[in-house]
């Protein structure tokens, strides 16, 4: 496609720099992710962009595009299995208050808090009693049943989500999904 005015060079696009497909969609100005207020509150990924490698500006709308969550989950798990592992895996025990047995997760398989939370929610879905199991942000604590906490290198129990993902992975020794009422004592803000 000839571009005599070299407009393409100054064009704003959503792709990473250097990716230049032949037929890139050129979308008009109104193409903003028009989300209602409710969905903005549901966004959890905005806080944890650095480690996931996604372009930070592109927040995701819940349930869009309409790919079945079953498909997304199974697809994501396959992709993760294929990743080359440098370490042999960072396995930590995960306990959930009220569940009869513990599980183990490999923290090296996940890229972000969001991925980890999704995986944990799927793992313990059978034991949840209602609403969403795990809080997404600190201020949600009173609205969810459980909160994810972890034991760090110093032996302290911390609320998951405060430190950058890589720092969390390197310092986390075990995870505990505790009841929301108990977890409230751990938040830094009242």
């Amino acid at each position: 496609m000839e571009d005599h005015d070299n407009l393409k060079a100054t064009e704003l696009t959503l792709g990473l720099p250097g990716t230049d497909a032949i037929e890139k969609p050129t979308t008009a100005a109104p193409n903003v992710n028009k989300r209602s207020k409710e969905e903005e509150e549901e966004e959890e990924c905005c806080g944890f962009t650095g480690s996931s490698g996604r372009p930070a500006a592109k927040a995701q709308v819940v349930g869009w595009p309409p790919v079945r969550s079953y498909r997304m989950n199974s697809f994501r798990e396959r992709k993760m299995e294929k990743k080359e592992e440098d370490t042999t895996g960072i396995y930590v025990k995960v306990s959930m208050d009220g569940a009869p047995y513990l599980r183990k997760v490999d923290l090296g398989v996940y890229n972000s808090y969001e991925d980890l939370t999704d995986a944990l929610e799927a793992m313990f879905k059978g034991f949840s009693l209602g609403k969403r199991i795990i809080q997404r942000q600190a201020h949600d604590l009173h609205e969810s049943e459980h909160a994810i906490t972890y034991e760090d290198k110093d032996g302290d129990w911390m609320l998951v989500g405060d430190v950058p993902w890589e720092m969390f992975v390197s310092s986390c020794k075990r995870l505990r999904i505790m009841k929301g009422c108990e977890a409230r004592g751990l938040t830094s803000s009242p």
Partner: protein, 580 residues
Amino acid sequence: MVRGFGWAAAFPDEVWEHVFSFLAADADRNAVALVCRAWHRIERRSRRRVFVGNCYAVAPAAAVRRFPEVRAAAIKGKPHFADFNLVPTDWGGGAEAWVEAMAEGWPHLEELRLKRMVVSDDCLELIARSFKNFGVLSLVSCDGFSTAGLAAIAANCRNLRELDLHENEVEDNCLNWISHFPESFTSLVSLNIACLEGDVNTSVLECLISRCPNLRTLRLNHAMPLEKLVSLLQRAPQLMDLGTSKFSADHHPELFFKLESTFAGFKHLKSLSGIWEAGPAYLPAIYSVCESLTSLNLCYATIQSPELFKLVSRCKNLQRLWVMDLIEDNGLIAVAASCKLLQELRVFPSDPYGVAPPISLTEHGLVAISAGCLMLHSVLYFCRQMTNAALLTIANNRPNLTCFRLCIIEPHTPDYISQEPLDAGFSAIVESCKDLRRLSLSGLLTDRVFKSIGASANRLEMLSVAFAGDSDAGLHYILSGCKNLRKLEIRDCPFGDKALLDNASKLETMRSLWMSSCSVTLGACRQLALKMPRLNVEVIDERRGRPLESWPDDFPVEKLYIYRTVAGPRSDTPPCVWTV
């Protein structure tokens, strides 16, 4: 000449029953039941199959009482948008109420199909114990159960013919559930365990397959390694429908040859799926069956375009193709040239969030298919760009479309050449495709497209709308038109109270309406509920703790699910759901 409806008595009941047995469609049987009391009585006693599109539309006991001789039941639970995480996980759709009523009233039940329901292990155990002649269990997009429940089914259902587990969330706590099929069990015809995550004991499975000579369908899960797959498949050369496990391994020529000869041994194979993570090395082993395939599902196979092209272009008799967008336009052009019998095409996005470099799959691929495949009637297509011209061409090429679901991944995307909304394109689709039963819209759309849909889509039964429209007029056009509309699901559109209230009675002619992130207020829901007592108006709000009664009328409703019912408000609503 017999007056009135006395002619019903002119023949004994068995004759009418025999006549009615030729009516397959529920709608026809329902019509027959309305003719006179005698026919109502005869019909209800002879109905063998029941389909409940919404598990809350009727009380289980009532359904069981009305049709005492049912042998096959199919029930659906959650709204379709539950597939995309828009419905709270605890919304409902539990199967217990139905299973308990059926255990009580239909001891001769042979077939049960559940979709988007919450099925517990207790349910599965009840099913296993209650129906002596149970033959078919199909669970699609369900959750709440584990392999322990499956073990109960395996152990107790002596005449099980079909176990179909499709895209369920199953907890894996009983690794050897397959070994619960007794040694005397030989009736299996169809086994689909593709959605199970855990390893399945291959030798036990091999034994099972060897002693079931009628096995026609076998869909395995991802976990089984390729070498074990080969030895398993050698036991079942009579298969017609195969879903493989992982199709990659370190390259061993010997393994390749074994795989190739196993496939060559399939003389009756018509349908192939699975092929997870196919490596280019092993794919050619399939080539020998391509010619006979009528259905090919590669939607989990991350094969790149050249290999895809080679595989699919050999499948001259393909009627159904499900594939990833990795096939690209060139691949679809090849399909259009080779697969002249194609009826259904689904193209899934390999990278829905647009992180990887863009794939060269555009409107051109779909246009090529619409031109080359004269029997094409069903389309699901994910892409990133579209034009009105392309849609017009597709509409003109394929007026026989019955299902057209287009998903342009970025919301509000206009025609990328003209920058216009895609109203003209979708209007062409509904005006040309007179038999269109299902439509999903996407891209930049104004109220104009809804005017066309309302006016022209006379056979439309299901419509999915997202990020479209300008005003209430859009919703009004749909609800005041679309004579045969059954299911309407809407998200993120500026549709509100007026259209809903002006068309309240339309809602009783439909199975259900879902609206989320629109402009509906609680006041309108209250008015609607008052006006239409045979609708359940469910307001879903996951954020607030205060009860519904305390909220004002102008409170914006986050999610709304309205459905017709003769069972009244349901008793199992979770905290986030209020029946207004």
